[in-house]
């Protein structure tokens, strides 16, 4: 029975970890987009 629960725990753990990883990477990229857009706007205004 231990192996059975371990197998399900491994699969759900791996999938949950992957979902969290996608969400965190997406969040970090969105933040970078916001920073880059601000930088571009500042450079446009400076010209």
């Amino acid at each position: 029975m231990t192996n059975l629960f371990l197998a399900y725990a491994v699969v759900w753990g791996v999938l949950m970890g992957y979902l969290v990883s996608i969400a965190s990477r997406q969040k970090s990229l969105r933040r970078e987009i916001a920073t880059l857009k601000t930088l571009l706007e500042q450079k446009d205004q400076g010209r």
């Binding site: 029975m1 192996n3 059975l4 371990l6 197998a7 399900y8 491994v10 699969v11 791996v14 999938l15 992957y18 979902l19 996608i22 990477r25 997406q26 990229l29 969105r30 970078e32 987009i33 880059l36 857009k37 930088l39 571009l40 450079k43 446009d44």
Partner: protein, 229 residues
């Protein structure tokens, strides 16, 4: 139906489906006579393997389409599928030995199915590592596409290994010919888990491809900032 609504509906259906699969695997499906409860790993092991193979088929399609069109959207499809394939390949390679130990008395054996599956996982890792080493998007996409097509050779080997060679791994229970077959309830639970895992694959593909699209946007913006400075 707009894409956001579709995504929400897909998430809901997949989540309900996963709960139903758990119910089916643990409470509805009968206990297998010789192996006992450990056989219930079947309902998560088989659909994980299916998704891993499906992922390689998608990589193959994306790779061929990229080499023909040189459109990076196909490369994004391939890389998204490779990452998801690695996740499901890891899942079925991890659940296999957990089932094998109580059923066969050993964690692992170098038979055709297990070895070709391990090679499949290494191929996925190789594909992702190769991409990490290459900076230029077009060069990266071209080399990854060639590798993706080459690596696809392992997919039919994994699938047919238990039919072509004598293996420790059990013979197919669905479409396995004479003497094969499943209890009707077991078959229904397997079909349910297969369908739900396929939906999960689609959902993960949507999320992972969106990430790749955002990454492309970041690269464009970085270039624009560099050009302005």
């Amino acid at each position: 139906m707009n894409s956001s609504r579709f995504e929400k509906s897909l998430t809901l259906v997949t989540a309900v489906g996963l709960i139903a699969t758990m119910y089916g695997a643990f409470l509805w499906a009968p206990t297998e006579r010789t192996m006992g409860d450990i056989q219930r790993i079947f309902y998560i092991h088989v659909p994980s393997a299916w998704n891993a193979l499906l992922a390689f088929i998608v990589i193959f399609i994306g790779s061929v389409a990229y080499l023909i069109t040189k459109d990076l959207k196909w490369d994004r499809l391939a890389v998204a599928s490779a990452e998801i394939g690695t996740i499901f390949c890891t899942a079925f390679l991890a659940t296999g030995p957990l089932w094998a130990k109580p059923a066969w008395g050993i964690w692992w054996t170098w038979d055709a199915r297990l070895t070709s599956s391990l090679i499949l996982w290494l191929m996925y890792l190789g594909y992702l590592l190769l991409r990490d080493f290459l900076e230029d998007p077009q060069r990266r996409a071209t080399l990854a596409a060639v590798f993706g097509i080459f690596a696809f050779v392992d997919v039919p080997i994994v699938y047919f290994s238990i039919r072509l060679w004598r293996t420790q791994h059990p013979q197919p229970v669905v479409m396995g010919g004479e003497g094969s077959g499943l209890d009707p309830v077991m078959f229904k639970v397997l079909m349910l888990s297969w369908a739900v895992f396929s939906l999960l694959f689609v959902l993960l593909m949507i999320l992972r491809m969106r990430l790749e699209k955002t990454r492309t946007e970041v690269q464009h913006l970085r270039r624009a900032v560099m050009l302005q400075s």
